[in-house]
């Protein structure tokens, strides 16, 4: 297509040369125009117009028209003919010109379309060509590679063949070597044996010579010296060497040989008999095995019946052979072996038959298995489903029954039982609590008693103190007056001293008891002071406590009490002077109780 397209304008232009006498100059732009139009159509119209304007002038209009007409005719547009509007005039008749133009445009457009198509085609072709080329090159590469490979393989093959050849030659040489060596060995061996023989002969000759010499020398030393000759070990006298003796020796020898052979024969006979027995037994057992089958399948086939006949015959033979077992003659042996052989053959046949039957049965089974499934399988499935359903129901019923049973039993019996259990437990717990409570109560009681005692004592002391004060006041009063001196001394000694002395002893015993208890009833004993505070007034208590001081106890805990006294100090400066003595007892409490008891103590101290 491309070629055709390119040649056509040239052809027309060539025709132009022949037909028209248009100058070369005018032709060239047309050509140019044609060439340009191959690339772009839009600028073509402009340029062509410019060129065309140069193509037609005022002067050559008729020529132009005729030229155009000719051209149009050559293009096959002979129907439309451009005519001058007026002969010789400059104007053109418009319709044909426009028609011609339109036709030309149409042609041009068509050409452009085909051009485009062709371009596309061209592109496609070129790309496919490129692809082809690439393919081609690749294939070429491959070819080259395979050729190279082939040559390599050829090379290796050649080398291998070479190697084979060398190996073959090696083998040949080795074989030759082996042969050579073998021949060498054999020659050496023969040489050696020859030499050995020669040497041996020589030594034999030497020995002979030596013996001869020894005999010739009449060696005196060679002698036997026996005190008196001994008798033969068997007690017989020696015999002369006679022909008879040699004959007897021969006889003896043969006798011993014979006895040996007899012994061995006997052994063999025994062995043989054993083996025969085994054979007989085997035969019997075989027959035993075979007979029931034959009975069952008697007359089933001709072959079987023939077998049966054979076996009958053999049975007879077997019996006869059993009878002749002891004879062990050739005939009997033959019979026996023959019968055994036949039996064996039959047994084998039987076994084969059984095998084939078994395989058939198996096949049948297998085939049955393959055929049957549809119905039986479904039936079976149905049955099984049914069974499963039944089982489920059964289980359900059982479950229900079980639950019922459980419910009923739980209501009256188990509930009571459980309740009993619970109440028992509760009771136990309550008992325990009650016990604790009782204990607590007792403690409280005891403490209360202590405090009441203390209170009573305080009361008594108070009374004593009052009395003391009264007496002191009385003394004071009397001191002011003359002649009271002697009476005062006697009274102070009498009552107050006595009361003071009795108090500390009681106190110590009580505190000791408390100390012993404090470790066990720490929790109970802590609230004791607050509770007990209500019973006697604290001031009174402390006044009594002030009386506790005892030499031994205070000294024991002197160290510990200093620290505590310091904490007390800032809080209670009023008691500072006396605290050193008192805190001995406090520290005894604090050492065993928890630290907050100090605060308690402080509170107690602060109370007044």
């Amino acid at each position: 297509m491309g070629e055709w397209w390119t040649t056509v304008p040239i052809g027309t232009s060539m025709g132009n040369y022949d037909i028209s006498s248009i100058s070369h100059v005018t032709m060239s732009p047309l050509r140019q125009n044609n060439l340009v139009s191959m690339y772009s159509s839009l600028p073509l119209s402009k340029s062509s117009y410019n060129v065309i304007s140069a193509f037609c002038t005022e002067d050559n209009i008729p020529q132009c028209i005729s030229y155009m007409n000719q051209e149009l005719a050559s293009l096959g547009l002979s129907s439309t003919c451009i005519e001058a509007s007026s002969p010789g005039g400059a104007g053109l008749s418009t319709v044909p010109a426009l028609n011609a133009m339109y036709e030309l445009l149409q042609i041009h457009r068509r050409n452009m379309g085909t051009l485009e198509e062709l371009e596309k085609e061209q592109l496609k072709k070129s790309s496919s060509m490129e692809h082809m080329q690439m393919n081609n090159s690749r294939l070429k590469d491959q070819l080259e590679l395979s050729i190279r490979e082939k040559s390599g393989l050829h090379e290796t093959e050649r080398q291998l063949q070479l190697k084979i050849k060398t190996l073959q030659s090696c083998l040949k040489t080795e074989k030759e070597e082996v042969q050579k060596l073998q021949s060498i060995i054999s020659s050496r061996a023969s040489q050696y044996s020859h030499d050995a023989k020669r040497k041996e002969r020589e030594t034999a000759k030497l020995k002979e010579r030596l013996g001869q010499l020894l005999v010739d020398r009449k060696d005196k030393k060679l002698a036997i010296d026996v005190l008196n000759c001994l008798g033969r070990s068997d007690g017989k006298r020696s015999h002369w060497k006679t022909a008879k003796a040699t004959a007897s020796h021969e006889g003896e020898m043969y006798k011993s040989l014979l006895s040996d052979y007899e012994a061995s024969q006997r052994a063999l006979m025994l062995e043989n008999a054993e083996l025969k027995k085994v054979l007989q037994q085997m035969k019997k057992e075989m027959m035993h095995i075979l007979s029931p089958r034959q009975l069952s399948t008697r007359g089933a086939t001709a072959d079987d019946s023939q077998d049966q006949a054979d076996s009958d015959g053999e049975e007879k033979a077997g019996n006869s052979s059993r009878e002749t077992l002891d004879q062990s003659c050739e005939h009997a042996r033959e019979q026996l072996t023959n019968s055994i052989r036949q039996q064996w053959r039959k047994l084998r046949n039987h076994m084969e038959k059984l095998d084939s039957q078994a395989s058939q049965v198996q096949n049948q089974l297998e085939s049955n298995k393959e055929v049957i499934p549809r119905e039986t399988h479904e039936d079976e499935m149905e049955r099984m489903r049914h069974e499963v359903q039944q089982c489920k129901e059964f289980i359900h019923a059982q479950q229900q029954l079980l639950q019922q049973q459980l419910n009923t039993s739980f209501d009256d019996e188990t509930a009571a039982l459980l309740n009993d259990c619970y109440t028992l437990e509760e009771k136990e717990r309550l008992k325990e609590e009650w016990r604790l409570f009782e204990e607590q109560k007792r403690n409280f009681e005891r403490e209360r008693k202590n405090f009441t005692e203390a209170a009573i004592r305080l009361g008594r002391e108070k009374k004593a103190f009052q009395e003391d004060r009264a007496s002191w006041l009385k003394n004071q009063f009397l001191n002011m007056t003359p002649f009271t001196d002697r009476r005062r001394c006697s009274s102070s000694d009498g009552q107050s001293a006595l009361s003071i002395r009795s108090e500390p002893e009681m106190r110590i015993s009580s505190t000791n008891a408390q100390l012993a208890k404090s470790s066990t009833y720490a929790t109970f004993s802590t609230p004791k002071p607050t509770q007990s505070a209500a019973v006697p007034s604290t001031t009174e208590l402390y006044r009594t406590l002030r009386l506790i001081p005892d030499g031994s106890s205070s000294r024991h805990s002197n160290r510990g009490c200093w620290q505590e006294s310091s904490t007390i100090e800032d809080a209670d400066t009023r008691f500072k002077s006396r605290s050193r003595v008192r805190c001995g007892d406090l520290s005894i409490f604090s050492l065993d109780k928890k630290p907050y008891t100090h605060r308690e103590c402080r509170a107690l101290i602060l109370w007044p």
Binding site: A204, K220, L222, I224, D225, L227, C229, R232, K241, M253
Partner: protein, 449 residues
């Protein structure tokens, strides 16, 4: 198990009389005969020189003492201590001396195997047998004492002569098909003579008493062949040990191979029991090494040993022989059947510390005894299936189907057992050291249990 006190002995010459009553020992040039049961000296004979060989006559009445260096043989009578006999082989020299089975003839082999001189003690007669062959075992008497087979070499060919021992009548004389005959042995029933070739060729020939060739057997060619041959006491089997470390058993009917026993370095046979001797040195503290202890005896320095059953597979110690040396230490050199023909004990030379016991009924390996040192000697109890062996140390080893035991010989002065001999009753063992001997009494009651 009890042990007697130690007696002196020289050249390991110590033999119990065939009737089992007397024990003859040689001490230098003296011959001492003791009662076996009491070990009291019954007779004392003095020979002319140091005794190099001693042997009892078959009737236990005479003892032969050979002094090879002097070419002398002296014969002593137990019944008549005054009786004496001296045989002088003269300048021709003496190589070996033995009794004839009747105990009235002495057969002396002269030096260079020039001839065999037969001296009769009954008639003082002397007869010569020429051309005896110098080989491994060139002479053998049948067990009943009737016949003597002798290997001969004449004109570079091997011959066998069968003599009637009664009057030295040559019964048969035939050429054997051997290259270089190495030995011959009568079957225990005395009817078959096994003849084998030297180690260069594996060949066993079996001849009937009348000289007919019964069969020929050859296992392989070219490599070194037979090393040892032994008949089974029942004459049923012939065991052939060879340089290829195998034992081949021939049967007595077809004379074909029944089986072969290999001696592999690794034992995988699960039916066999492998006993391994394990030595345990007693720990001796430094304070024990006082002079006092050293003087007490060498037993302190003796190692204790016991057998352990090894789990399979077991790797046995193997010594590779030097291929350039003649008579390489490889192959089965010793074969011994138990008295009841039930077991076969073998020793492979390149596994010198191992004894193999084979069951001849099952034709399989029964037990393997791996010792700590090379086995010197082993012998079957003549009455029971019981194997005694020694390895040149102070211990005696016993194997029986029930198990294996190692016993320390409780003698002072380091008694090293070099060799051993069973008493014919099987109740006692004679242990031979280098210069001493000692009797070991088996506990018969224990055996019964």
């Amino acid at each position: 198990m009890n042990f007697s006190e130690v007696f002196k002995q020289s050249n390991q010459l110590c033999k119990v009389s065939p009737d089992g009553k007397y024990l003859a020992t040689c001490v230098q040039y003296r011959l001492v005969v003791r009662d076996v049961s009491t070990l009291q000296i019954l007779q004392l004979y003095t020979c002319l020189d140091q005794i190099s060989h001693m042997d009892w006559a078959s009737d236990s009445l005479f003892i032969l003492c050979a002094m090879y260096k002097r070419g002398l043989v002296q014969v002593w009578s137990l019944e008549q201590p005054d009786w004496h006999c001296k045989i002088d082989e003269g300048s021709i020299g003496l190589l070996s001396s033995r009794w004839s089975p009747d105990g009235r003839h002495v057969l002396n082999t002269t030096e260079f195997h020039l001839r065999i001189t037969v001296w009769s003690l009954c008639t003082k007669a002397v007869s010569y047998i020429k051309y005896p062959k110098a080989c491994q075992k060139g002479i053998d008497f049948s067990r009943d004492g009737c016949y003597m087979a002798l290997a001969e070499r004449r004109d570079c060919k091997d011959y066998v002569s069968v003599f009637v021992c009664d009057d030295w009548h040559l019964l048969r004389h035939f050429e054997t098909e051997t290259q270089d005959l190495a030995g011959l042995e009568w079957s225990p029933n005395g009817c078959v003579l096994a003849v084998w070739d030297s180690c260069l060729e594996y060949k066993v020939l079996l001849y009937s008493l009348d000289g007919r060739l019964l069969s020929t057997y050859s296992a392989y060619e070219w490599s070194l062949g037979i090393k040892s041959v032994t008949w089974c006491p029942s004459s049923q089997f012939l065991a052939i040990g060879s340089y290829d470390e195998k034992v081949r058993i021939l049967n007595h009917i077809t004379w074909k191979k029944v089986t072969q026993f290999e001696h592999p370095a690794t034992i995988n046979n699960t039916k066999a029991v492998v006993y391994k001797e394990v030595e345990r040195r007693p720990a001796v503290g430094s304070d024990d090494l006082s002079l006092h202890n050293i003087t007490i005896g060498t037993t302190l320095f003796n190692t204790q040993s016991k057998y352990e059953i090894c789990p399979l597979p077991v790797q046995l110690p193997v010594v590779k022989p030097d291929p350039d040396r003649a008579n390489p230490k490889i192959g089965v050199s010793t074969l011994a059947f138990s008295s009841d023909s039930r077991y076969l004990a073998t020793k492979n030379d390149n596994m010198a510390s191992v004894v193999w016991v084979w069951d001849m009924q099952k034709m399989s390996l029964e037990a393997v005894l791996e010792q700590t040192s090379a086995v010197r000697c082993f012998q079957w109890d003549p009455q029971r299936p019981r194997l005694a062996l020694c390895t040149g140390n102070t211990k005696l080893y016993l194997w029986s189907p029930a198990g294996c035991v190692s016993v320390q010989v409780p003698t002072e002065g380091g008694f090293q057992v070099q060799s051993l001999n069973w008493h014919c009753s099987g109740d006692s063992l004679i242990l031979l050291g280098k210069e001493q001997l000692c009797l070991c009494y088996m506990d018969t009651d224990q055996e019964d249990k």
